[in-house]
Symmetry: C2
Subunit: 418 residues, 2 copies
């Protein structure tokens, strides 16, 4: 599928993340406009509240867009999502008969502030990248026992904390927590010293389920995807995670990119899953290409200094798709809801420079990275700005995710020294 | 503190769960009334929406009670909670000057349907009962390694699934899931064969936090408590829980009792925590009696047959209080919100008949229980009705929780055999 030409010139730039083929969904505000739904097109944002108010976009009886979240649109389901995409494509295409009407509803992206694009109902994080699980397992349990026995049979996941999900650009405060140094016999309450990132893709669930769903049904429930950084305090995690999993180590913050790239926009980039070492059971069996060819990278900029790209990988490296994760999530009868967010798990590739976390890149802190500035890093230092990028590369166009960024602020004084 | 006399005769019965000292908060409906906030008093329910509408209860400018949840009241914070309790006590006391006005707002509980009393924002489950952790640890890892190394230093918890929380009386469907029998080399997708209950108390968080809070601050954030049954598929859990904790095993359902018993009603029943084997770090240190003397029991009734009380225990047996759990929950900066629900962890006591799960009562299925009907149980059978009871025993009165009940329905046909 080639680039679809728009009358908005910047959207036709082959390098622009937001061509007409993309139409990602976000929430923006300006000095004049309260936070509301918007769609990115080139360097502009279409004010969906005005498009709806004036009747240019008219999908269902109730208003859907004069809201600071996309949940109400998502609840409408795939037929309405498709109708919206078709209508916006008509309005914004080069030959649009309604250009004059829609043009006043465009806001320059440079003048807008971006907010959380949806209300996160619940947040689940998976562990579905084989390279990542193998790397982490090798560090903690040795190469012989790297993958847990269940890993090749189901997408391992744990419930995270929805209240900690924040939009790109939000500063992240280095957390305190209970941790135990290997050279101490008792734990202490300290600022995390091994604070890390995890490069992930987040799937946004658009419609609800009441009982178990198949992989195909799950795929149809997914509204779109965002970049996701699952900030992780490795020292807190090491002490707390047995036997019931990560808890406070993952609860400080999870950053997401502000634009939801819809499943429809990504459809041309579907890729087949990897060969299965063991056959998957019926509820997880592959029914088609449900991964995506999305280039991902991580850059790290020390305070006031230029950024270094520290890793490059691709989402097609995952073992389980978000559709498989979502199907597995429903097997017990667990109800899923619009706004549920599923983290893919860290996206690492086969080579060292493909690793999606500092834990892997520095091999548990033993092999420091050297940045372009000459500085070295094992884990994050105060003032570091982390930025994730993502894009699918089409025929003369890109489907970009924008960026997911956050700066690590120093820990506050001991909150319990009062 | 003795019984406070009410002009509602049934509330003065020493055995009644809902005397004037209690005033638990629920949501009810009748043939005529849409679901709304109500307060139980003896055999009646006070229609809070009407009490507010007529000005008899007038706490803040915005209406709080003509809603099918207590979250809006909870968000108002402890001063408004105290004002509400004082006002209701005046209105319903034996010498109330406003009896004639309030009397028409009482609905017989027998005519009401009870609903979820609040919107569960997020749900966290802890593992904070020492007897339970020791029993389970002994079964899985041997007596020498029963308690994990971190257990005496922090309340181990994991995030659960808010969407799976349901009100007492909701039928529970036996789940399917991926599990591996010890005598098979590969997992299979089957209905759970080891479906269990967990007797817990649930703490309802009433106010929000943005950063780490102390144990005292956490205690002040708790609005009240409910009975909680954390239904658990032990065979799914055994296969899935390493390394990131329980997931689908705990996602079928979590039942709660319909009445939130407020912290104020429980205040006379505070008890000191047990002696600490190792000193707790500052953020968890005991600052007062934060457990409660609450008798708890479990009864099991096979389909169409009388119930047997299979366990009796007391909430004072816990090692960590809900206040300590909530303080720990905030250490990383994790934001907590009104409507967050914290499961205490299974409340087991020192003796066999004090155990709060069938896993412990039947010692992993090896020692079947004999019911009064002559039948035996290791785990739950289809048609079994489980009921939790709870009460604090005062001087001539009780603070009752009502019941938390659920009937296990047989598994549906294989959802993936299509």
């Amino acid at each position: 599928m080639p680039l679809t030409q728009s009358w908005i010139a910047s959207a036709n730039d082959a390098d622009h993340p937001f061509p007409l083929n993309n139409l990602p969904c976000g929430v923006f505000s300006t000095d004049e406009l309260e936070p509301r739904c918007g769609v990115a097109i080139g360097d502009m944002i279409l004010d969906m509240a005005r498009a709806e108010e004036t009747g240019l976009v008219d999908l269902v009886e109730d208003p859907l867009f004069d809201l600071p979240y996309w949940n109400d649109l998502m609840e409408q389901g795939p037929a309405v999502w498709a109708a919206l995409r078709a209508r916006l494509t008509t309005l914004l295409a080069a030959d649009s008969p309604e250009r004059a009407k829609i043009e006043p509803m465009l806001v320059p992206a440079a003048e807008a502030t971006l907010h959380m694009p949806f209300v996160v109902s619940e947040y689940t994080d998976f562990y579905a990248g084989r390279h990542h699980a193998t790397n982490v397992g090798t560090m903690f349990r040795g190469a012989e026992n790297a993958l847990p026995p269940n890993w090749l049979h189901l997408p391992i996941g744990y419930n995270g904390r929805a209240s900690s999900v924040c939009v790109s650009g939000t500063d992240i405060r280095r957390p305190w927590g209970q941790l135990k140094s290997p050279d101490h016999s008792a734990p202490a309450f300290l600022p995390s010293r091994r604070f890390d990132l995890e490069l992930e893709l987040g799937a946004v669930v658009g419609t609800a389920s009441e009982g178990p769903v198949t992989v195909d049904e799950a795929d149809a429930m997914i509204f779109g995807y965002v970049l996701l950084n699952d900030w992780s305090a490795r020292d807190i995690q090491a002490w707390e995670y047995q036997p019931l999993g990560p808890f406070q180590a993952k609860a400080t913050a999870t950053s997401i990119s502000p634009w939801i790239v819809t499943r429809a926009a990504l459809d041309p980039f579907r890729t087949a899953p990897p060969p299965r070492e063991v056959e998957l059971l019926a509820h997880l069996r592959d029914t088609g290409p449900m991964l995506y060819d999305i280039d991902l990278d991580i850059s790290l900029a020390p305070a006031g200094k230029p950024a270094t790209t520290i890793a490059r990988t691709n989402y097609r490296e995952m073992y389980y798709s978000s559709a498989q994760q979502l199907a597995h999530h429903t097997t017990s009868g667990c109800p899923m809801n619009p706004g549920d967010l599923l983290g893919s798990g860290t996206v690492s590739g086969p080579e060292r420079h493909n690793r999606g976390s500092l834990l892997e890149l520095s091999w548990g802190g033993k092999e420091p990275l050297t940045l372009d500035t000459g500085e070295t890093r094992t884990f994050l230092e105060d003032g570091d700005t982390l930025t994730l990028h993502g894009q699918a590369n089409g025929d003369g166009y890109r489907i970009g995710f924008g960026t997911c960024t956050g700066t690590l602020l120093p820990a506050l004084p001991d909150p319990y020294a009062r």
